[in-house]
């Protein structure tokens, strides 16, 4: 099931929370919305899930528009809202039954769907408890279970791992990855490693606009540009710094704080200074202890794009 978003705009008063966004998501993709807080990630999700209407623009799921048939669209989407709101006074099983009924799961299939969700989300020991007795991690699982109860083709998860401990985060990520094999998944996050670990494709959203779109590798290489090396040379640091700086392909040399003889070396655009540094050491009879290429981190890409 593909999602097409066209020229979506949502205004809150004068402020545009989402500003003319367009993108397309193909069946089976796991897409991460990445952006600082207040960038418009949640608003975009709320529009796709038909919680609120956009000021202008359209969202279509397999050619069904949110303006023409929101009921049909809601049926195909499983949604975990931000902060995971739940009916706290309900027992887990009752809540899942309610979700299944209201999403139109046939009555004969409801018990098997509930059993499957409880099994899949690891809720077996908690299933008869009231939701308000559960810890945050288990509530999150209930939130995922209710989103998936009607076996939707699209899952939309708004910050699915906030407030979880590291073990729970790993579990939820694994669950999302599993789900991504059969479903189209959109998740939002401001944690980069999370998006990198779970998503096929990343949309960086900033101030209501799409700042970048691609896999984590393409995003990295797009902004990489210049080679960055970490070098360790055993010799007098002052001499080394001066010599390296005078090399033809080197743009910038910065000593690494607290480590004598270590430098960060940035090459000029479209040039490599690896060989030059090696030759320099050979000529001067210095020992080259280490030379590592530094990969641009997604954090840097993100910071560059969202500043």
């Amino acid at each position: 099931m593909s999602i097409v978003v066209e020229n979506l705009t949502k205004k809150y008063g004068e402020q545009k929370a989402v500003n003319d966004i367009s993108f397309e998501i193909k069946t089976g993709e796991v897409v991460g919305f990445l952006g600082p807080n207040g960038a418009g990630k949640s608003t975009t999700m709320k529009i796709i899930t038909c919680f609120m209407a956009p000021s202008s623009g359209d969202v279509r799921l397999d050619n069904v528009s949110i303006h023409s048939d929101p009921e049909a669209i809601k049926k195909k989407i499983g949604y975990l809202p931000e902060n995971n709101p739940l009916y706290l006074d309900m027992p887990v099983v009752e809540y899942l039954r309610f979700s299944a009924e209201i999403q139109g799961v046939p009555k004969s299939k409801i018990p098997s769907r509930i059993a499957e969700m409880i099994d899949r989300c690891g809720l077996d020991r908690e299933k008869h408890k009231n939701i308000n007795e559960l810890s945050k991690g288990y509530r999150q699982r209930v939130g995922l279970a209710q989103a998936m109860i009607h076996d939707p083709e699209i899952l939309i998860l708004d910050e699915p791992t906030t407030g979880l401990d590291p073990n729970q985060i790993v579990e939820i990520r694994k669950l999302i990855k599993d789900l991504g094999k059969e479903k189209t998944v959109i998740l939002s996050s401001h944690i980069l490693s999370e998006v990198e670990a779970t998503c096929d494709r990343i949309l960086i959203i900033n101030r209501g606009r799409i700042a970048a779109d691609g896999t984590s590798d393409t995003l990295r290489s797009q902004s990489q540009g210049q080679e960055l090396l970490k070098v360790s040379i055993e010799a007098s640091p002052e001499e080394v710094e001066k010599a390296v700086r005078s090399l033809a392909n080197v743009e910038k040399v910065t000593p690494i704080d607290g480590k004598v003889g270590w430098f960060n070396v940035q090459s000029k655009p479209d040039a490599s200074s690896r060989k030059e540094i090696f030759d320099l050491c050979v000529n001067n009879k210095w020992y080259l202890m280490e030379m590592t290429g530094l990969e641009t981190r997604l954090e840097d890409v993100f910071q560059k794009l969202t500043k």
Partner: protein
């Protein structure tokens, strides 16, 4: 199974799980029972086998009880954010409001059904006018439905249950009381108008056993307007922040 009924079922279960239902029923029965049988101008004091005493007590007690059961219906969901969860399920705004409306109405019906022994007892004491009893109960049901729709609207415009309660009482008091008082001191067209807008005008004629289409139109209009305004308040998210 209808979507409205699924929502109604959940709300009713939540009434009974949270003890609201029991507290409401016990208080209602206690209050109306005490004044029907024991205190003030009770059945033995007026010495007639009719249920007018009970109806006039219920007329007032329901006025206060109904905002107490409607106040949380939408306001709580607004506050907890569960409204987002509910709206993004495959239901329409109108199904949500009607489901909640029906749940409140069923709770009131259960409370009213519990007063059926009053009828049996009084009918043993003398000749009772069954028409007036049926009319009176019908009047109470329609009155309750009207206040429920007002209460739902009050609940839909806020996140705070206390505000919802007070707003419902505030809107309700005009229909319950103020319009009647005003109509008795104003003559001509406006006197007629306020008299028509007053709940008690319509309720009293029904509790005497006279069911007029004017009364039915009045109650159904209030119900429709209240429910409609709740839907409008719920869909407000579509055009503003």
């Amino acid at each position: 199974m209808s979507k409205v009924w699924i929502i109604t079922k959940r709300e009713l279960a939540s009434f009974f799980d949270s003890l609201i239902a029991y507290v409401m029923i016990v208080l209602f029965l206690g209050l109306s029972g005490a004044f029907t049988w024991l205190f003030g101008s009770d059945v033995f004091f007026i010495n007639q086998a009719n249920m007018q005493v009970f109806f006039s007590i219920a007329f007032w007690s329901l006025f206060f009880f109904i905002p107490a059961i409607t106040m949380r219906m939408i306001a709580e969901e607004n506050k907890a954010g569960t409204i987002e969860l509910l709206i993004t399920k495959a239901v329409t705004d109108s199904q949500i409001v009607w489901g909640k409306f029906l749940a409140c109405l069923l709770l009131v019906l259960i409370a009213l059904a519990c007063t059926f022994p009053y009828y049996i007892t009084i009918s043993q004491l003398g000749n009772i006018d069954d028409g007036a009893v049926i009319g009176g109960y019908l009047g109470l049901i329609l009155l309750s439905a009207s206040y429920i729709s007002i209460g739902l609207f009050a609940s839909s415009i806020t996140q705070n249950q206390i505000v919802a309660f007070l707003a419902a009482i505030f809107i309700g008091v005009f229909f319950h009381f103020v319009f009647g008082v005003v109509s008795s001191s104003v003559r001509g067209f406006f006197g007629e108008l306020f008299n028509y807008l007053s709940m008690s005008t319509h309720f009293e004629s029904m509790s005497r056993g006279v069911v007029d289409s004017r009364d039915l139109i009045y109650f159904f209009s209030i119900i429709a307007i209240g429910v409609l305004l709740s839907q409008v308040a719920l869909s407000k998210r579509n055009w503003q922040s």
